[in-house]
Symmetry: C2
Subunit: 348 residues, 2 copies
DNA sequence: CGGGAATTCTGTAACGATACAGATGTAACG
DNA sequence: CGTTACATCTGTATCGTTACAGAATTCCCG
């Protein structure tokens, strides 16, 4: 048993072979005889040598075997978001298959972007971050392949994701088709890193897409309310919706589109608390099709999109780029999931 | 704008200074004049040099600025577990404060533990893993500081966590105190990496602790049923509980202790589905105090423990070890959260 | 038994950075 | 003006590994 730190050289000397042979014993077993290899590994074990040092290896090879995920929100916040988790899940699956590890890089509160600049990664996935965020600038300077996963569309960076605006327009079409004429859009405030409000470019695109579709259909702008929840949480959604629902009935929207299921679930809570019947008196739509959406009361009508596939695709694209290959991001589509929170508007 | 990859040397030559000066421009601004520093940074920017290479730096410094989290379950599975998320949340918070990044290392399906051996980390946190898992062996060989976070107690590795068995005993005392005499324990199967069943030493310790407390109190073993859910999910918990509840009333347990809230929530679903009134006909207890526990119907009585603090403490302990300091793991305590799923057993 | 191939092993030279110990030059002081 | 102190900059020597290009050895076959 060796006590101090061992190195490849040490082992080589002890085994009476060249360092290269020790290296090969670990990395290219076919390049040396079985007997030599066994001797080397035995000596290594006796010395307490734990295998080639990752730092030395990654310097020499120019690869770290790691993909980083850049998160501008606080990590805790990210973990609280079901959508992010599904995306991560997809990334993790694809990474595991490729034998790569996943580095989480929070950029919040890191003014000089030391983590981004110093991260030991071969590639970076961007998500939930604004194109002009300093972390994005730092990421570009790294010179490693980048991909934007669902989050922002940034010039010059491959984008894997859905068309939020178009998908939200489909939600609008559904509600218009049911005959609704008074709408509310529940969205979130613009991101503000200083105030700790995470950027959600995708969510804002949904709000814009929904509004544009209403406008295109000739809906009177006076009959569209836009409400901002204080936060991207169910509770904030409930509070914001509660304000909507106190209005007298004829001034109330007959349909609410929440830019995410998390918010929509809050709307359902608020409606239940105010005794507003969903969907008879109020139609509610969300976006994401998170797991809870199928379990809510009533089950939520929403737009489903392949977040898991987004995560996988982002990794595939970026790992291909590391190898110098170019993979065109797949086209990812969304679809309407009809459940029980939308119906024709109540008769006058 | 430089096109090919730049290095510190390149920049030094272009700026007419020594490499050391360029290094200092980035790392020790106080070691050179403002004018030189500005010139160096300007030249670097012109050449498109993105700052010192993390690989070179971490080799030379012997530090990577990264802490790894070892997960023996599939990453997706980990993310699906609310307890794990809270723990991660705590880790992330503490890491962010220390300017460290977080590397997620899944060990499932990696027979030669290449990820563990090759991970660019200064320290490793172990969680949800068996002491004799090959990944643990590989981790030890790495020679980096280790800490076990909540998961397994392993000889020679600092442990941050709660006393699961003792805390489960407290649950038993609560139910005994209410007068229950017929019990069921809902647990999960032993982990089996081959079958993809993650190890949960903590959960099993809870079951053991609960059973030991009943035994110590003199409860007739015939009146204790032990049921294994197929999986650590709410659905599996519901199914397993459904089997319990089909028995005729006098043979049914009057109290169920589920080793986790996730399972306990499944029990509540099963009870609701079978028309069994909780807590009047059946008392149910969980363990963890996850967020949903407060929102279930009825709200779940459970054992609360500081998972978030566990995550933070694990990081503190392990980062201290990286610096050669020794920090004694704090003593983390649990407490009973009385909500509305436990009551006196029904009269005969 | 000679010659070419296959197998197995080894020296050399980086990968890109920083710790350390000086070497300059300049300011300050008695 | 000599000397010390300070600020600023530089040369040297690694950190631990692996790519590459060849030796040395063995093998096979005609």
């Amino acid at each position: 048993m060796g006590e101090s730190r061992q190195t490849l050289q040490t082992v080589a000397r002890a085994a009476g072979v060249s360092p290269m042979t020790v290296s090969n014993a670990y990395n290219r077993p076919d390049q040396l005889s079985r007997t030599t290899r066994e001797k080397v590994l035995r000596v290594a074990a006796e010395l307490g040598y734990g295998g080639p040092s990752p730092a030395g290896r990654s310097l020499r090879r120019g690869r770290s075997g790691t993909v980083g995920l850049l998160l501008s929100e606080q990590l805790p916040y990210a973990f609280a978001d079901p959508g992010m988790l599904t995306f991560l899940h997809g990334m993790a699956t694809e990474l595991a298959a490729a034998g790569q590890a996943l580095l989480l890089i929070p950029t919040a509160g890191d003014t000089d972007q030391a983590l981004v600049r110093g991260a030991l990664v071969d590639a970076l996935v961007l998500r939930a971050i604004y194109p002009d965020d300093p972390a994005v600038v730092a990421a570009r300077e790294r010179g490693v392949p980048l991909v934007s996963g669902g989050g922002p569309k940034i010039a010059g960076i491959p984008f894997v994701g859905i068309d939020n605006a178009r998908s939200a327009a489909r939600a609008a079409e559904h509600l218009l088709g049911l005959g609704h004429t008074r709408f509310a859009v529940l969205t979130i405030p613009p991101g503000d890193p200083l105030a700790g409000i995470p950027p959600r470019p995708g969510l804002h695109a949904r709000a814009r897409g929904f509004l544009a579709a209403l406008e295109a259909a000739g809906v009177d702008p006076d009959r569209i309310q836009v409400v901002q929840a204080g936060d991207h949480t169910r509770d904030a959604g409930r509070e914001a919706a509660a304000h909507l629902l106190v209005a007298r009935r004829s001034a109330r929207p007959t349909a609410v589109f929440a830019v995410s299921d998390v918010l929509a679930l809050g709307v359902l809570e608020a409606a239940a608390a105010s005794g507003v019947d969903v969907p008879r008196q109020l139609s509610v739509m969300g976006f994401d099709d998170i797991e809870e959406a199928a379990r809510s009361t009533p089950p939520l009508t929403t737009i489903s999109h392949p977040l898991y596939e987004q995560g996988r695709a982002a990794v595939r694209v970026v790992l291909a780029a590391v190898d110098g290959r170019v993979v065109r991001p797949p086209r990812l589509t969304t679809h309407l999931v009809l459940r029980e929170t939308t119906a024709r508007p109540p008769a006058r």
